[in-house]
């Protein structure tokens, strides 16, 4: 049940999964004609590491009481979550084609009633960490060993509720709660530091009573070791994952225009071709 320590950093397999997820994201959003590629692409390695190395989950028992919980607080990265759930086996890959279409279980933002593996419906920003606090308290009451992982956007951390939740998590000494912030430094209106500065960001989490780690959110060699300290923490853990918005597609990277815009067919083709090249290199 416990994750194994990997001393040799050979993450070829994880990289291959991440690339498949990236391809899915581009295909899904292109097909839907709308969606959020930038913030979906920036959290692919984080999701891949969580689902394929960290989370204690079995797609055959999605209701297992002691399963680890994952909350996508930045609900607009739904395509990344759906693609990951498909790779992991929670949902059929066929579903991905229906993203954002009328009658589809894959709503624009995740709906827990429609998609197995989605633990809470999100979309309105700033709420996932509070829900995570509730789930972590639930484990304490029931004396269960599961952990709760909440993925937040950095722009999302401008919501006051995130800090209400951060305060509560430290107050209740929730050492079974892990927040991961996808620190891609871009939000809809531009650079986070120009729209509403978050820095000193790590220090904020520290000041709220959390243990903090700052990592490269695209490097499995940093992501996985960060999760390996979870059994030893005595307070909630915030992992600030520095990422690149639009990661993996050259013309989307660090370009705020791709926050919430679907690629045209020729753009999608170009993006997919780039990923093909990466695969060849790997």
């Amino acid at each position: 049940m416990f994750e194994t320590f990997e001393l040799v950093s050979n993450y070829t397999e994880l990289q291959a999964i991440a690339t498949r997820i990236r391809k899915n994201i581009i295909e899904m959003i292109a097909q839907a004609g709308s969606g959020h590629p930038g913030g979906s692409l920036s959290c692919v390695e984080i999701l891949t590491a969580l689902y394929f190395k960290v989370l204690r989950l079995n797609p055959e028992y999605p209701e297992d009481m002691d399963r680890d919980r994952f909350v996508l607080s930045k609900g607009h990265s739904a395509p990344a979550l759906y693609a990951t759930l498909a790779q992991f086996g929670f949902i059929p890959e066929e579903w991905l084609k229906s993203l954002r279409k009328f009658g589809s279980p894959l709503q624009g933002h995740p709906d827990m009633k429609k998609v197995p593996g989605v633990e809470i419906s999100t979309g309105s920003l700033g709420q996932g960490l509070s829900v995570g606090v509730g789930m972590a308290l639930g484990a304490k009451i029931q004396k269960l060993g599961y952990r709760v992982f909440v993925l937040l956007g950095d722009g999302e951390c401008q919501e006051g509720q995130v800090w209400e939740a951060a305060m509560a998590a430290a107050h209740y000494k929730l050492n079974n709660l892990i927040a991961i912030v996808d620190r891609n430094r871009l939000q809809i209106d531009g650079n986070t530091e120009e729209v509403m500065a978050l820095e000193p960001f790590v220090e904020k989490w520290k000041a709220f009573g959390w243990m903090t780690l700052e990592i490269n959110g695209h490097d499995f060699g940093e992501i996985i070791p960060a999760f390996q300290i979870i059994p030893y923490i005595s307070k909630p853990l915030a992992i600030i994952a520095n990422t690149v918005k639009g990661k993996g597609v050259s013309f989307m990277e660090n370009n705020v225009d791709w926050h919430g815009k679907a690629p045209k067919p020729e753009e999608a083709e170009k993006a997919l071709k780039e990923m093909q090249e990466i695969c060849k290199l790997a």
Binding site: E119, Q127, I141, E164
Partner: protein, 314 residues
Amino acid sequence: MQKHLATRQAYGEALVELGRNNPNIVVLDADLSKSTYTVKFAKEFPDRFFNAGVAEANMIGIAAGLATCGFIVFASTFAIFATQRALNQIFQSIAYPELNVKIAASHAGITVGEDGASHQSVDDISIMRTIPGMTVIVPADVTEAYQATIAVARYFGPVYLRLSRAPTPQILPNEYMFKIGKAYVLKEGSDVTIIACGTMVYSAMVAAEKLSSHGINAEVINMSTIKPIDKETLLNSVKKTGCVVTAEEHSIIGGLGSAVSEVLSEEYPCPVKKIGIKDQFGQSGKPEELLKYYGLTSDDIVEATLSLKEVPNK
């Protein structure tokens, strides 16, 4: 149960009873546990009570998280803060996922009194009623508040339970059995249907007595579940009386009067007079002073009825 207690006190007692019988009951509050009476549960079950501090939005999110783990969660604060500070959280994290959370909000209406408009919730029924799938309940007295608290714990899904600060006279008979979605005919009559909820139910009964001296035989209905509304009881009564007066300690926009009018306009159009707060904010004062100022007394119900029946007020 003693008479002349506030519905919030009955809520506090019922929570303790629930806690003793069901280990899955969890209670949250936002630094108002002494006012909402969740403090009694907190003392007896410290492991199942969580104070969110002055942070209503976070409290609602925590409630959602606990509900996903199979707990029956009661989240309490003042009505104005529950429904206004945490509205989007209730919508997104509780109602949309249909989670088993009971938002039990006290200090509703203007009988909060001296604290004034900032603490007087006059639109909470309206707000909560428009959220898809939300059940809205306004108990009339402690008997009903106690029973309703037990009943909502047995019902699966989001509920808004509206409670009062001020004591209310005992109005429901001893044999009364609360059922979600079931209105109760307190007094049968044939000339007018007076439909009330919460603190106004007692005033409606007093008004009915006063009306009898005008030769008007009023039927009085306690509509404690505002959503889903009991159409059957409502229509059966109105088909008999042909006109309606509604009474609520709430804005006339969107509350009980609106809910009743929505049913009647589609199914049995008839004259309706609404007693309630007329698009105004509250203010400081004693509950009785405020009820009089905002036109929420038994005399106001009498006057509205007489105008409806076109009988000169003697």
